[in-house]
């Protein structure tokens, strides 16, 4: 069989998996299943990147998103209302309008993709695609990655500040020199 035919068949399969499982995310009865459906969609997108010769980025997407969905599953179990999917789950608001907006967006975007006269391909992929991105982020695009580093650091700090129940200045009241109260009954029980 011709190599192009194989690529096309694999691409169509991956595209169907990515879109189909993406839609399944909002259709299944349990949030845990929704998380795994999203993970499958991400893995299919990683496969599409591999088809485009993006070996490194494809593997990064698969590995990162599987980990991210594993962490997400923990939060799902913490916040979800229907853990095991034993009951039908329907948590929508304004469904018809959301559906019409989504379909309208798809028509506009897909119409643009098909109708716009895209520029001709310039140049060819280098022999080592990973070397290209490595030299890019360490050379001409270094500022981008430095910006991302600063944003990720501030994300770590602000996420911790938001998520912690009490921070260091709110530990034992607003007086920083305050010591733990001398409770008659230890363990923080009682008035």
């Amino acid at each position: 069989m011709n190599e192009d035919v194989v690529t096309t068949v694999v691409f169509v399969l991956l595209a169907l998996v990515a879109v189909g499982f993406g839609f399944l995310v909002f259709r299944v009865d349990s949030m845990a299943r929704a998380t795994f459906a999203l993970a499958v969609s991400f893995v299919a997108v990683g496969g599409i990147l591999l088809l485009l010769d993006l070996d490194y980025l494809g593997v990064v997407v698969v590995v990162m998103m599987v980990m991210e969905m594993a962490i997400m599953a923990v939060f799902m179990i913490a916040y979800m209302m229907n853990p095991a999917g034993l009951m039908p789950m329907s948590m929508y608001h304004d469904k018809p309008r959301a559906m019409s907006i989504a379909v309208g967006t798809f028509v506009v975007l897909a119409g643009g993709a098909l109708l716009v006269d895209w520029p001709e391909r310039q140049g060819a992929p280098p022999d080592d695609v990973t070397e290209q991105v490595g030299l890019g982020i360490m050379g001409s695009h270094m500022l981008v990655m430095m910006g991302i580093g600063a944003v990720i650091l501030s994300t770590i700090v602000s996420a911790l500040v938001l998520a912690s129940a009490r921070s260091r200045y709110d530990r034992l009241g607003d007086d920083l020199k305050a010591r733990p109260a001398r409770d008659p009954i230890r363990g923080g029980v009682g008035p």
Partner: protein, 101 residues
């Protein structure tokens, strides 16, 4: 496989993510819709790199930026969800009305 086909797939992922983000009541499910939209952006950026300018690293760097945006969005989303759940047991978007009107 062509640029147009890949962009249609990206458009489908973005539209499905938008549908989820608009229609879901749970804040966590809303974030999954946003993730799906960024997933479509990854496909679009990668296909532009491959079919328009493969000799420059811009497209690949854009994919890296989108991947980081996804993780940052997830981390901040869960932090905000934890904060508002602590403050008022809010877990649905309809209940998070503190800033409305």
């Amino acid at each position: 496989m062509s640029l147009e086909a890949l962009l249609v797939v990206a458009a489908a992922l973005i539209a499905i993510g938008l549908y989820g983000a608009l229609s879901q009541q749970s804040i966590v499910m809303l974030m999954m819709g946003l993730e799906l939209m960024l997933n479509g952006v990854i496909v679009a950026a990668a296909s532009f790199w491959y079919y328009v300018a493969p000799s420059r690293p811009d497209g690949q760097v854009l994919v890296l930026v989108v991947i980081s945006a996804m993780t940052i969005e997830m981390a901040m989303g869960f932090a905000v969800q934890t904060a508002i759940f602590r403050a008022g047991e809010v877990e649905l978007t309809d209940e998070a009305t503190e800033l409305s009107g």
